[in-house]
Subunit: 453 residues, 2 copies
């Protein structure tokens, strides 16, 4: 497919950029029209690539795009999953270019990349599947039925998709679910994800006095909700760096020494890792390596906090409220619904009596594991090995694609995570980018996967 890419390179950029220009931010209601624009554009791209049909389906939330090409019902069927919604671009002032006006420019190491929100996650990655499909169709090499399912709510936890999948089980029937929405360890150490963490995401609100107060008149006599929220958050970890929510680890499966040894084969350079992050020391659960802490162990992070006066200058206020957004990454067997309940109960239980505490669940999903002995895994491994010149290692991804556990459950098929993102892409952060080399090697690997499976 290398030559096909070379010939069509500029058209590919134009097509991908047309998706990246649409600010399809699912977290913000104001972008609702953009979700439809983006879904419409995907239908066009699928049809142009050779799909028999491509349609927008309404859900309880943002629309789903479904397209397919059925060449022979007796052949194996691939279901491609991707999402066209993106994370909010904030903080905007930290972007070097407009997040919704993609540009191609070299990164710090001189490698050309596309810079835009969604360049990798997930518009760039789902685009690879459309182009690999186009190549197979246009060259007469397609030997599978292919179905595309693109949703618009992944970044907010796919609240509507499970019900929609249940309602369209037959239409979605397939033998494997291909997903490119993850990273590999590095360009030199390609890897295939064999598991993802689940997620529980909640918002907490601590209310002290019923109105903002003058900190001079009341300071010292009235509990400050920011202070209390900080004290409560500081109690969420024990001295060993473990999450101090009772029951949090009850269902976590301890990996065997052999399994841990296998995972430890993934290369990891502590100094390089710290240098990339600009930190002097790491922090995490006692008794586990950094890769284990992000791969096989659950964790808790405060993703956002706000309260009181946060503008310019010095406003002296003892505020009425303080807020935080808290995410917990879960490992297989931990149920998101149960962890959300345990957290809410615990957080309320540690609230001192001079404040009121509210906990609101925002989104969640379970983690899952993927069998690495399957023919699909082996085909993917062979394809990637040929394109990269190195056999990929199996790895456990720290992120979450909440809906994939549902796909596994409802459709009874395993996902295969062919992620070509790299940590350097800084998805979910300012200046998201995607290396052209990864974009093109991803397309090539995917096309070869169809050959070998």
């Amino acid at each position: 497919m290398k030559r096909y890419i070379e010939t069509n390179r500029n058209r590919f950029f134009e097509e991908l950029f047309s998706l990246l220009r649409i600010p399809s931010v699912s977290a913000k209601a104001e972008h609702k029209p953009d979700m439809y624009f983006c879904a419409q554009r995907l239908c066009e791209l699928l049809l142009e690539a050779g799909a028999d049909s491509a349609d927008i389906y309404e859900t309880a939330g943002n629309p789903v795009v479904f397209g397919q090409k059925i060449i022979d019902p007796s052949l194996r069927t691939v279901l491609v999953y991707g999402h066209y919604d993106v994370q909010p671009a904030e903080p905007l002032e930290k972007w070097r270019t407009d997040p919704f006006e993609p540009v191609i420019a070299p990164d710090a190491t001189g490698q050309d990349a596309i810079w835009a929100r969604g360049a990798n996650d997930d518009k760039g990655q789902l685009f690879m599947h459309i182009k690999a499909f186009e190549y197979l169709v246009s060259t007469g090499r397609l030997r599978h039925n292919v179905k595309f399912l693109f949703e618009g709510e992944e970044e907010i936890g796919s609240p509507s998709l499970p019900a929609w999948i249940k309602a369209h089980k037959k239409m979605l029937a397939a033998d494997i679910c291909l997903v490119s929405d993850t990273t590999m360890i590095s360009e030199k150490v390609p890897s295939i994800n064999c598991g993802m963490r689940g997620l529980s995401y909640l918002e907490v609100k601590v209310t002290g006095p019923n109105k903002d107060l003058h900190s001079g008149h009341y300071g010292g006599a009235v509990a400050n909700p920011i202070q209390v929220l900080c004290e409560m958050i500081s109690q969420l970890f024990d001295a060993d760096g473990r999450v101090a929510v009772p029951g949090f680890y009850d269902k976590v499966v301890e990996l065997s020494r052999a399994d841990r040894r296998m995972l430890a084969r993934a290369p990891f350079d502590l100094k390089e890792y710290k240098d990339f992050l600009g930190v002097r020391e790491l922090r995490g659960e006692k008794g586990y390596t950094p890769l284990e802490r992000t791969g096989i162990r659950p964790c808790l992070d405060v993703c956002g906090i706000w309260g009181g006066y946060t503008g310019e200058g010095a406003k002296t206020v003892l505020p009425s409220e303080a807020h935080a957004k808290i995410s917990m990454r879960l490992v297989p067997n931990q149920l998101s619904s149960e962890i959300t309940r345990l957290f809410a109960k615990h957080f309320k239980s540690i609230a001192p009596k001079y404040v009121k505490v509210e906990v609101t669940p925002c989104e969640g999903g379970d983690g899952f594991l993927i069998p690495i002995g399957s023919s699909a895994y082996k085909a993917a491994s062979r394809a990637i090995a040929e394109v990269y010149g190195i056999e990929p290692v199996p790895a456990r991804g720290g992120g979450s694609i909440a809906v994939l556990a549902e796909v596994q459950k409802i459709l009874g098929i395993d996902p295969l995570l062919l992620g070509f993102g790299l940590e350097r892409d800084t998805i979910h952060s300012p200046n998201e980018s995607y290396l052209l080399s990864q974009l093109f090697r991803g397309m090539e690997s995917i096309a070869r996967f169809y050959d070998y499976w």
Copy 2:
């Protein structure tokens, strides 16, 4: 002066409203022009009220208004201090009316009040002085020289005023400094402030990784700066509710039992206090009453906190930075500059090695005490007693007017705090208001003060 108020009531409202409509928010650079508009309007009002002169003076920051009427250099001179700048109005969504479009409407108890940012603090209160002066001039009763000094930077700690006062010492020479920028205990318990707390205000920044990270890919392995900031803030108090900054209390003067008994005579209804605030329990330094905690004891409050994603929905991010604004209210003898230094040193010392911490001083000022045996205090006490029908009690104010300690030092005169605000006015908060009854009784009390001093 009662009849004069009745006759001129509507004109008074129009004049005060013309000040309140100008959004003279000193914390925000965008309001720079409004500072000049407001200063200009004050000059007009002073001249109309009978001043010989009223002019705008440039400072290193916002302009100062100075006006005066010298009837006989051998008579005693009153210097009136006030400030025309106001606190930011945020959060705007909590205002029931436009903060910069004043209206007269009854409060929850049916008493008419003016609703606007600055209705009390300090435009409403400084206006009382202009009108009392106008009354004395127009009725030929004035027996003092009167000077007015209105500054535009009180809410940001008066950074420019001390230098300006030093440069205009002779012009400002006076025998007393009248200030109406504080509250009294209640309408039924009028009080005169005999001391104010000082202030140290700082901003802190905790930096973890050098960019926002995907909380799935790094969560569990990298220190989260919000978590660390919360842990650091939670260490700022000890188990007895004392500020845990070493040296913080070193210079605090312990009041004698007799002094504490005298202060305890101020009426205080715990249930009413808690009900007004909507809290079940109070919190503060062990061994002191709520009034002592806000009057004679220093304290620390987090006035604002922010970090990570604070918008709508669920963004999973492990942020690079977390911030907080911290104010400390100081009692006499605690030096603001020293406390700021102690805090900065301590806060950096408790930073764990996986983050970087920056501390930026924002504003500060020392506290001060006022002698209650003076002839001016006695004249004010008599004036208020006549207007309210009850003798006012001496009280210690919890707030800070940073510049008054400087006035005391540079000009060598004592301030007299004739505050007619009430806690119900919720200055610095949404829906600031000022009761008409307090506005008018304030004017009357001030006019009588001139009679008795």
